[in-house]
């Protein structure tokens, strides 16, 4: 009987052991190891030597670091506004059965299915200065002055890349809000109409507040996605011209794998991690709150 009890106490650990060990070795352990590497002069070949905070001292003097940080902030600012508004508007429009509903929805989901590499390549071609779709159309309608080198201008390039990310993200936000709207009690909406609310008032004072939990998740996910941004930049510009479209993730990759300054790259990832951690904790806190409701 005692044996049986200890055995049943062990059961959950038996289920967990293999996946957890894999997870600790490949994900959690490496996370901590990055902190150590950031204090070394590792170049990928010879073993790392401890050099204290020197990588960080260099990093805080590196202008590319500040450009990247600023670009990540631009990305965040765009991501928590444009796709959220567009996605919410689409969800509101497509929450009723309207003719062609499935086609509309599928059209907005579809960018999510493409890899970022594919999206980046197709958009690079649309941005092509001489023969791309965008400039061809602008010239055709006589707006030659607006036909810019979208990916070669230092002022435009970051926004041109963010536009691609927005194109993809809006459908995702729509999916989340559509799911959220399923949980909105139609009785409340009807009640507000009876009380004389117009469509906008009902949305503003009834539906939107009810969607607040989804909005929090959407905003947090958008920020985390912005900090992870890598593929589009890597495929479309590699951070150029003159680092004007560099983001932290891309800056880190180039320093570590193209310049073989792996210790320095680790320091960049630590900063990236510290910024992300704030939002990861907000997210975990939300998860914990829903846990309590069980």
């Amino acid at each position: 009987m005692v044996r049986r009890q200890t055995l049943s106490k062990l059961t959950p650990y038996l289920f967990l052991i293999v996946p957890l060990v894999i997870y600790l070795v490949w994900v959690i352990g490496p996370m901590f190891y990055t902190f150590y590497l950031s204090l070394t002069d590792w170049d990928g070949l010879i073993d790392p030597h401890f050099i204290g905070l020197r990588n960080y001292q260099r990093l805080f003097k590196d202008p590319v670091f500040y450009t990247s940080l600023e670009n990540n902030l631009k990305w965040i600012a765009s991501f928590i506004t444009v796709p959220v508004v567009v996605g919410l508007a689409l969800a509101m429009a497509l929450n009723h059965s309207i003719p062609g509903e499935k086609f509309f929805k599928a059209s907005f989901y579809s960018p999510l299915v493409l890899s970022l590499v594919v999206s980046g390549l197709i958009w690079s071609w649309m941005y092509h200065p001489a023969n791309g779709l965008i400039n061809s159309v602008l010239r055709q309608v006589g707006l030659d002055a607006l036909a810019k080198g979208w990916l070669s201008s230092e002022n435009l390039v970051m926004w041109a890349i963010i536009a691609v990310a927005i194109w993809r993200q809006a459908g995702y936000v729509m999916v989340l809000y559509l799911a959220g709207l399923q949980g909105v009690d139609p009785g409340l909406v009807d009640a507000s109409k009876v009380d004389g609310c117009n469509g906008w008032q009902t949305f503003r004072h009834v539906i939107f507040p009810l969607l607040a939990p989804i909005t929090v998740i959407v905003v947090v996910i958008s920020i985390i996605d912005s900090l992870r941004a890598f593929d589009l930049v890597s495929v479309m510009t590699r951070g150029g011209p003159y680092n004007s479209s560099s983001v932290l993730a891309n800056f880190m990759y180039i320093e570590a794998f193209n310049n073989y300054k792996m210790g320095y790259g680790a320091a960049i990832s630590v900063i990236l991690f510290l910024i992300s951690a704030v939002f990861i904790f907000i997210y975990l806190y939300r998860v914990l709150q829903t846990e309590m409701e069980y």
């Binding site: 959950p12 996946p19 959690i28 990055t34 890899s115 590499v117 023969n131 055709q140 559509l178 794998f257």
Partner: protein
């Protein structure tokens, strides 16, 4: 609602028109890609993008497939994706069962490790994982990539499956336990069949994610012969710098598998996306 009744108000007609225009704008990249891939590069360069094409040809697809290397990159993507997918779903269903169905010390901590890890920027893991694969002799092999995909996706899959498994009524499991069923049999014969809808949704989503990965492929592989299609396309882009028709045709070919998955399993794909965010 019938179409006639729907269009009874002029505001609705206007709103609908706006929706149609936005939707068409959203599809422009797809239309552009298809139209480009069917033309020749010379035709576009000489006569402009908006000119009616002189000839329609699938040569760019053939070029991308044969000389561009898509014929080896695409199978590589499957060789990496399928084992990762099976392993991560299998392993996460084990850990999810433990976390969903047992009270024990560390349950919540482990759960939060999984959920928190899901959100990590890959850059934070990149260098140590690169070193790890090197130490294990997995650098520049399929297994290095399979390892990191399996491990990293465990977080999201465990999170989702654990929440789903908690909704299964306890009585079913309890009666099996009283009948003397062992825990592993309960997991495999009772819990797993009940969890299938969630697994289907998850599998669809994870297939797309792993298949579309680019970063790990460029970090953990060096040999061109092993590259999945995402990394392969980046190589193709360097190889055909000026030849956009071939690059775009390659991009379209690379998309076929995930588009097929999406067309046939759209419902699961969307379910997977929403399960992840709204249950959290």
């Amino acid at each position: 609602m019938t179409a006639r009744k729907f269009f009874s108000s002029p505001w609705r007609v206007l709103g609908y028109a706006v929706l149609v225009v936005i939707t068409l704008l959203w599809l422009v990249p797809f239309i552009t890609a298809v139209l480009t891939s069917l033309r020749t590069n010379d035709d576009i360069m000489l006569r402009g993008f908006l000119a009616l094409p002189k000839t329609i040809t699938i040569n760019s697809f053939v070029e991308a497939w044969k000389r561009g290397g898509l014929s080896k990159y695409l199978p590589n993507s499957f060789i990496i994706t399928i084992p990762s997918l099976i392993l991560t779903l299998f392993l996460s269903s084990l850990s999810a069962y433990a976390l969903a169905r047992f009270r024990f010390t560390g349950n919540r901590l482990i759960f939060f490790l999984y959920v928190g890890g899901t959100m990590l920027p890959f850059q934070v893991l990149m260098l140590p994982v690169f070193r790890l694969t090197d130490a294990l002799g997995l650098y520049d092999t399929y297994w290095g990539l399979i390892g990191i995909h399996t491990a990293f996706q465990l977080g999201f899959c465990t999170f989702l499956l654990r929440n789903y498994m908690r909704t299964v009524p306890g009585e079913i499991l309890e009666s099996a336990r009283i009948d003397g069923c062992g825990e592993f049999r309960i997991w495999w014969q009772i819990m797993m069949p009940l969890t299938l809808p969630a697994i289907a949704a998850l599998a669809t989503l994870e297939f797309t994610w792993i298949f579309n990965d680019y970063l790990w492929a460029i970090v953990l592989l060096r040999s061109d012969a092993l590259k999945p299609v995402t990394a392969g396309l980046a190589t193709l882009q360097g190889q055909y710098v000026m030849d956009w028709t071939v690059i775009v045709a390659g991009a379209l070919l690379a998309t076929v598998p995930t588009v097929l998955v999406f067309i046939f399993l759209q419902r699961y794909f969307i379910e997977g996306l929403t399960l992840g965010a709204t249950k959290g």
